[in-house]
């Protein structure tokens, strides 16, 4: 029992020290959005399996995992930016541009691990430009990343004059399909490691708490002594890096670089964060949520295909799911 500061104790009898729930209860509470999404994903799969029993087959689930891996990785980076109340519209273009540069490097005979590093550099450069313009010049994130979105998207065409590149390197597939850990394909491993590392950092490292603090109230964060500009710069750089990495994983699977490969992904990644509980005003959400949001989007696409609905409806279904997710979020917060 600690002593109370004299006079700070107005009515000693009625004062109760705050109590802390057990770790289990706390985890259930703080991850309730994520748990709800996970349950929703399973429900969607069950509903789809009524029409198409192979939905729950090992092959289909592996398909979903493979298809969602690039989106998961991109969403993680975008989430970091959104958590600081920023936005990154450039990730789709970075994805495309990375694919083209990697394709060029590989078809030029560069060893694939080296080509990967070069390609990651693309994301880092774009991210650093975004971060620099946002933090040092003070431009609005939306505007800055709209610029890099436009420029990056066009450069993706410029570098090969619009031609696609077939990847002929016989070993490049290993990046995605190899098994660094025997029995576990790399794309699954990378996603698990990335989500776990980020989730740990966001919850247990002071740096992670700073990311939320900046999204929560950047003025207060600055006055507290949090290095706001460095953290901001860092999340944009990380977002670019994640987008490039996502592109490499995808390229390693598809073996063909196309300038439009990332065209739809930016909106999907933002949607994944929002479905996963992130607020565009910043300060909320989790890496696990962003991952589950990305999985949900992929599961919906997969389900629409399996049921045999015209794939043009995919976007409408995804939009509906986002609407439902934010409505549920709003309703639960109103009651709290």
């Amino acid at each position: 029992m600690t002593d109370t500061i004299a006079g700070a104790h107005r009515d000693a009898d009625s004062y109760h020290a705050p109590r802390r729930a057990s770790l289990g209860v706390r985890l259930l509470r703080s991850y309730r959005t994520e748990i709800a999404i996970a349950v929703a994903i399973i429900l969607i799969e069950l509903v789809v399996s009524l029409w198409s029993p192979q939905a729950l087959s090992y092959g289909n689930i592996a398909n979903i995992a493979q298809a969602s891996a690039p989106l998961i990785l991109m969403s993680l980076g975008v989430f970091l930016v959104i958590a600081t109340s920023g936005i990154d519209l450039s990730v789709g273009s970075t994805f495309s541009l990375t694919g083209m540069i990697a394709g060029l490097a590989l078809s030029g005979g560069m060893a694939w691990p080296l080509a990967c590093f070069v390609a990651l550099g693309v994301g880092l450069v774009v991210g650093a430009i975004n971060g620099g313009l946002v933090t040092f010049v003070g431009l609005a994130p939306f505007v800055v990343t709209l610029i890099t979105f436009a420029v990056g998207g066009s450069l993706a065409f410029v570098v090969t004059d619009g031609h696609s590149i077939a990847i002929l390197d016989p070993d490049f597939w290993r990046l995605n399909g190899g098994e660094l850990v025997p029995g576990l394909a790399n794309y699954v491993l990378f996603c698990i490691v990335a989500v776990a590392a980020l989730e740990f950092a966001l919850r247990k490292l002071v740096l992670g708490r700073w990311i939320y603090a900046i999204g929560s109230n950047d003025k207060a964060a600055r006055l507290l002594g949090i290095p706001v500009w460095a953290v901001r710069f860092g999340v944009y750089a990380a977002s670019g890096l994640f987008a490039s990495f996502a592109s490499l994983i995808s390229l390693s699977y598809i073996s063909n670089s196309e300038a439009t490969s990332g065209a739809n992904m930016m909106l999907q990644a933002i949607a994944a964060c929002v479905i996963g509980g992130a607020s565009l005003f910043g300060g909320t959400g989790s890496a696990i949520g962003a991952m589950l949001g990305a999985v949900m989007i992929t599961v919906i696409q997969n389900g629409v295909n399996l049921i045999g609905i015209n794939s043009f409806w995919q976007g409408s279904v995804t939009g509906l799911v986002i609407l439902i997710a934010v409505l549920i979020d709003r309703l639960t917060k109103m009651r709290a």
């Binding site: 500061i5 107005r10 802390r20 708490r209 603090a213 600055r222």
Partner: protein, 489 residues
């Protein structure tokens, strides 16, 4: 209970409201007569804000009846809340701000000249100079107290007969407050009633006729003339008996260890030994520039700060925090709370910076728990949002930040803004305790009574923001402060 009477502009009877399991209002009554200035009092958490939000339609009541102008279905414009600056559109002119919000038919053409004349007329009722000179100025370019007047004009032009003012003087100087009060009195003589919420007893006595006091969601004093109530009776009704008991005559605090801070600047050179409390008085301009320099937020090169004789220059707040400068602002929402983070992060945020920590560790939960217990902060859990706490408790939470490592220099910017008397006493005690443990305290307040009570020495700034004098321990009085700051009655 009397039937609805035409003399009342507002009758709220047996209002009930709960949020989840917590009932905030249990049978609260409030009757306001036409043309009266009515004070609504109560401690933090008594239900004042909730009641006001119900009156102006921002919240739905669970029970009770509400009559405006004797009718259950009131015209929505009869009651107007005057918010602090936030409800105006900064890029539009004063005139546009007054007339635009009340035009519901969006497709109607704005007859600018006509509307401008209406706006001018409404504003002229309040302040003729403002109406003459600032009508076409963007709101962003006029002063805070003038914005408040614009809001009142807007309410009048929409036909309001009852103004709700929540802490209207929180950001005003003494002279500006006086002006606001005289305007309210003038409006009252024309039949426009005002409900005013304030924690400043002097002010309430100066402006209000009658008061209603809430306590734990119930009306404990119903429409009593203020002349019939002593300060002690009011405090007792609010449930804060003992809060008025003067603290044991406050001898200058002598801390044994700590840092000596000296501040030099135009017209000022002071050396502050550990444990001393320096007050800053006067209009915001001067004190805020010194404070921004002390905390590294915005350095003004006119000021020179030394700690233990070594000159310190803080380019960013992070440097100040690492050097042991703590900061708490009364502007909780803007400059203090991390609202989406749990209470825990809000408390340990400063120690993480000062201690250059990397890990948000297990120990932090205990540290937070201890801090909350020492300050008797009532919270459900350290994992809850700080928004679950009342305003005064949030303020204590911000102070809790600096308990783990007592700052060498603690800079306070109106730390008791919008806080009830009982909580103010608690905050004073916390700050004294930090001073006794070696902190040098620099404290800006617009409430002279609090400065005279706590400070060893007070620097007065005049209305232009320059230092007009240093008042030493023996000579501190509200009169001396009023004279030095130019904010006298």
């Amino acid at each position: 209970m009397s039937a609805s009477s035409p003399d009342f502009i507002l009758e709220a009877v047996d209002i009930e409201k709960s949020f989840g399991a917590t009932s905030v209002l249990r049978r609260a009554d409030l009757r306001i007569a036409r043309g009266e200035i009515h004070a609504l009092l109560g401690g933090n958490g008594a239900g004042k804000s909730t009641l006001i939000r119900i009156l102006c339609g921002l919240l739905r009541r669970d029970g009770g009846t509400l009559r405006v102008d004797g009718q259950e279905e009131a015209s929505p414009n009869a009651i107007a809340v005057v918010f602090q600056e936030l409800a105006l559109l900064p890029h539009m002119t004063v005139a546009e701000n007054i007339y635009l919000p009340h035009r519901h038919r969006g497709l109607e053409r704005v007859r600018a000249a006509e509307r401008r004349e209406e706006a001018r007329a409404a504003l002229a009722q309040i302040d003729e100079t403002l109406a003459r000179e600032a009508l076409d100025t963007p709101v962003a370019e006029i002063d805070l107290h003038q914005r408040q007047l614009v809001e009142i004009a807007r309410a009048l032009s929409s036909g309001a007969r009852l103004l709700l003012l929540d802490e209207p003087t929180a950001n005003l100087t003494f002279a500006e407050s006086e002006r606001l009060f005289s305007i309210l009195r003038r409006l009252a003589s024309r039949g426009i009633a005002t409900l005013i919420v304030s924690h400043r007893m002097n002010e309430i006595r100066a402006v209000a006729d009658v008061c209603t006091i809430l306590r734990d969601g119930r009306t404990v004093v119903n429409r009593q003339p203020l002349t019939e109530l002593s300060d002690a009776a009011i405090v007792e009704a609010m449930g804060q008996k003992g809060a008025m008991r003067a603290e044991t005559a406050h001898a200058a605090i002598r801390a044994t260890a700590g840092t000596t801070v000296s501040i030099e600047g135009p017209g000022l050179s002071v050396t502050l030994p550990p444990g001393s409390v320096l007050g800053l008085a006067g209009a915001p301009g001067g004190p805020s520039r010194l404070i921004d320099t002390l905390i590294g937020a915005n350095t003004d090169l006119h000021w020179r700060i030394a700690m233990d004789g070594a000159l310190r220059h803080f380019a960013v707040p992070a440097e100040a925090v690492r050097q042991g400068v703590g900061y708490v602002s009364g502007d909780r929402a803007e400059k203090g709370l991390l609202v989406t983070l749990p209470i825990l992060d809000n408390v340990v945020a400063a120690a993480r910076i000062a201690g250059r920590r990397w890990f948000a560790g297990r120990r932090e939960a205990r540290v937070t728990q201890d801090a909350l217990e020492r300050l008797a902060i009532k919270a459900g859990s350290i994992d809850d949002s700080p928004l679950t706490l009342s305003g005064g408790t949030q303020q204590k939470l911000l102070l809790a930040r600096w308990l783990e490592r007592i700052p060498r220099l603690l800079v306070l910017e109106e730390p008791t803004r919008g806080v009830d008397i009982g909580t103010k006493r608690e905050i004073y005690a916390i700050i004294r305790d930090m001073a006794a443990r070696g902190a040098v305290v620099v404290w800006w307040s617009t409430e002279f009574s609090e400065l005279t009570e706590i400070c060893d020495r007070i620097v007065a700034f005049d209305l232009r923001g320059t230092v007009s004098g240093v008042i030493e321990a023996g000579n501190i009085s509200e009169v001396a402060l009023a004279r030095a700051t130019g904010m006298a009655a």
